[in-house]
């Protein structure tokens, strides 16, 4: 390097360093305010409203679980299982001796049947027929025909047939041992021997407990009064035929739908991973121009929503936490232009600009209401559809909130006797907009995702 060049460089360095090295300029008040706002903002998990929101959510969840448990404890036995237990308990051999006057009504009931007469359909009055027809035929009869369980309770299969099917002359004949030739338990055989030939009334007090229900049934039919056994009635032949066609799985669903009519409170959890579809609006403003707006790739706009709440009668009330990610690129147009020469004396003029890439995460906490409709399809099985609205407030620096309209439809599965899961596509449209760092740019976030819903306490 020439000495003159070096001298010039040194002179410039000395002058510029002395003038500019410690050059300071205070940012204006707006910049200070903006920076203070950004710095004073605590991380979102430290923000008080976030804390209160979480506390509220936990209380809500706790209350839901408490109510659910209370319901489980206070429920009277209803439905199939409860009736089955009750029926078996009535004929439990061990419990019968503890009832001192049990034999008397049996004798009275038996004595109500005229001697030497058979009990058949002809002997039943019209009123009794009507009673039979009106009797509630429930699928729980199948449980009574569950031979293994009944035999465990001291009943023979012959007895079960007597209870469940219309009585004819062959099954009920005075003086005939109903259980002759049947394989019985040792106790039942003993009782049967004791009672052999005793159908005319002698030694009734020693009658086998296994025939008590049969005699009660006879007396009920004979007297024309309705039998005091809950949930047991005469099935009509068409009922039995249709019942025989019902597969266990569809029966379960049928029972579920019947029981859902009880309008029990159900506890609902939802998880929805989604992608945000961005609708960008750029407002014009004097002084500068925003150009080359591009929506970013798919991964950077993935978000999620968690919800917890209660359902009653198909209506859901949920507390939701959402995280919506938006990402876009744009440029502030500068006063520089670039001319690109093209063939045939053509030119392309491009305006240069300062490129900005902006990604933003918005946390929202809100309340949602949904209506869920469950239905079945022959091909697809158990399906659901939900339509709902949600209003959520921004957590953090942003103020205001967003109103959403959402829709989901898909398939439901029973994953436990009291738990079901619903999975299906989810769409959410936002009526509000998120402001970008440059207030001239607003983004309308609509979500497309997968709704996964867990419901506790439906099938009881």
């Amino acid at each position: 390097m020439k000495p003159f060049e070096e001298e010039i460089n040194d002179a410039i360095r000395r002058k510029l360093q002395s003038s500019l090295t410690d050059f300071e300029r205070k940012p204006d008040a707006d910049m200070d305010h903006k920076m203070y706002q950004m710095l004073k903002k605590a991380p979102y998990w430290k923000q008080p409203y976030m804390l209160w929101g979480l506390v509220g959510l936990l209380l809500f969840v706790g209350a839901g679980v408490f109510i659910y448990k209370e319901q489980l404890q206070s429920d009277q036995p209803v439905g199939v299982a409860a009736n089955a237990r009750q029926s078996v308990a009535m004929i439990d051999r061990k419990t019968l001796p503890e009832i001192p006057n049990l034999g008397q009504p049996i004798v009275e009931a038996y004595q109500g049947i005229p001697n030497g007469k058979t009990l058949d359909n002809n002997s039943v009055t019209e009123k009794q027929k009507a009673d039979r027809a009106g009797a509630n035929v429930r699928p729980n009869i199948t449980l009574l025909s569950d031979t293994d369980k009944q035999q465990e309770a001291g009943r023979s299969s012959a007895h079960i047939k007597e209870v469940n099917y219309p009585i004819d002359q062959q099954t009920i004949k005075p003086g005939k041992n109903l259980y002759a030739g049947q394989k019985l338990t040792p106790e039942a055989q003993t009782d049967s021997k004791e009672n052999e030939g005793d159908i005319t009334g002698k030694g009734v007090r020693k009658r086998s407990t296994s025939s008590i229900e049969l005699l009660s049934l006879r007396s009920t039919l004979a007297n024309g009064s309705k039998m005091n056994l809950p949930e047991i009635g005469y099935p009509k032949s068409e009922d039995l035929a249709s019942f025989a066609r019902v597969k266990p799985d569809s029966l379960h669903r049928k029972l579920y739908i019947d029981l859902s009519a009880l309008k029990k409170m159900t506890f609902v959890f939802t998880v929805t991973p989604f992608q945000t579809l961005q609708q960008v609006s750029v407002l014009s403003r004097e002084g500068y121009r925003i150009q080359n707006v591009e929506l970013a790739g798919t991964l950077s706009t993935l978000g999620y929503k968690f919800g917890a709440g209660l359902q009653k009668g198909g209506f859901q009330l949920l507390v939701n936490f959402s995280r919506i990610n938006t990402h876009l690129n744009y440029a502030y147009a500068s006063a520089e232009f670039k001319v690109v020469e093209k063939p045939l004396n053509d030119f392309e003029i491009k305006r240069l600009g300062v490129v900005k890439s902006e990604s933003k995460s918005s946390n929202l906490l809100g309340l949602g209401a949904k209506k869920q409709i469950d239905f079945t399809s022959r091909q697809l099985g158990w399906l659901y559809t939900t339509v709902g609205v949600e209003y959520s407030r921004f957590l953090g620096q942003n103020s205001g909130g967003l109103l959403f309209l959402n829709f989901s439809s898909g398939k439901s599965f029973l994953i436990h006797s009291s738990t079901n899961m619903s999975v299906g596509p989810y769409f959410e449209y936002s009526f509000g907009r998120i402001k970008a760092a440059d207030q001239q740019i607003t983004i309308g976030p609509s979500q497309v995702g997968l709704s996964i819903q867990l419901k506790l306490g439906q099938d009881k």
């Binding site: 060049e5 001298e7 010039i8 460089n9 002179a11 410039i12 360095r13 000395r14 002058k15 510029l16 360093q17 003038s19 500019l20 090295t21 410690d22 050059f23 300071e24 300029r25 205070k26 940012p27 910049m31 200070d32 903006k34 920076m35 203070y36 950004m38 710095l39 004073k40 903002k41 605590a42 991380p43 500068s334 240069l352 600009g353 300062v354 490129v355």
Partner: protein
């Protein structure tokens, strides 16, 4: 809590350590400490005040993101300046095409009306010097700031700008000559005003 009460009397090390723990009040104090100095850096590297504000805002956030990487809190003064300079360079790398940094700009011969360049420079106030530097094309402005004001070597400049060392030298030469030419023109105008 004791730490918060005495925050205004914190030394630099304690302040940096509190910032490393994401203490928002310490971050405000840290910002107040460096804001004027760093805004000055941004003004030097930017073409306009609005661009300088953009660089300043994003650069400050970058500093708070990277402050956990600062091992020696006592070197915070030079560290924050380095981060801001690098962010300013990145900012222009996004908009200035590489060929503009690599050249070629037209050769600007050095034609000074005086034999003492220091004499020429001494005629101008800081604001005029700054204004003239800001008028230079991006590539020249960056190299002049890096070499003359902030004291980087050509090898370091080449690394920061992603160019070869020879390009850094030629860019500096052309930028310097253009700066002096502009200053001389401004000097003549000043004389004409008198």
């Amino acid at each position: 809590m004791k730490l918060f009460r005495s925050k205004s009397k914190l030394g630099l090390s304690e302040l940096v350590q509190a910032c490393q723990k994401q203490d928002s009040r310490a971050q405000v104090l840290f910002y107040d400490r460096y804001k004027a100095k760093l805004m000055g850096v941004c003004i030097r590297y930017a073409r306009t005040v609005s661009e300088a504000e953009d660089i300043f805002q994003e650069g400050m956030l970058k500093i708070f993101q990277k402050i956990t990487e600062l091992k020696n809190p006592q070197s915070a003064d030079s560290w924050v300046k380095t981060i801001m300079i690098r962010y300013a360079v990145d900012y222009y790398n996004q908009v200035t095409r590489k060929e503009n940094l690599q050249g070629p700009y037209e050769d600007i011969p050095l034609e000074l009306g005086t034999n003492d360049p220091e004499d020429l420079l001494n005629k101008f106030e800081v604001t005029v010097l700054l204004e003239t530097i800001n008028e230079l094309p991006d590539g020249y402005r960056l190299v002049i700031n890096l070499y003359f004001v902030d004291g980087y070597t050509h090898a370091e400049i080449a690394g920061i700008l992603g160019i070869v060392e020879g390009t850094s030298r030629s860019q500096l030469l052309r930028g310097r000559n253009l700066l002096l030419k502009k200053l001389e023109q401004k000097g003549i105008k000043q004389y004409e005003t008198f």
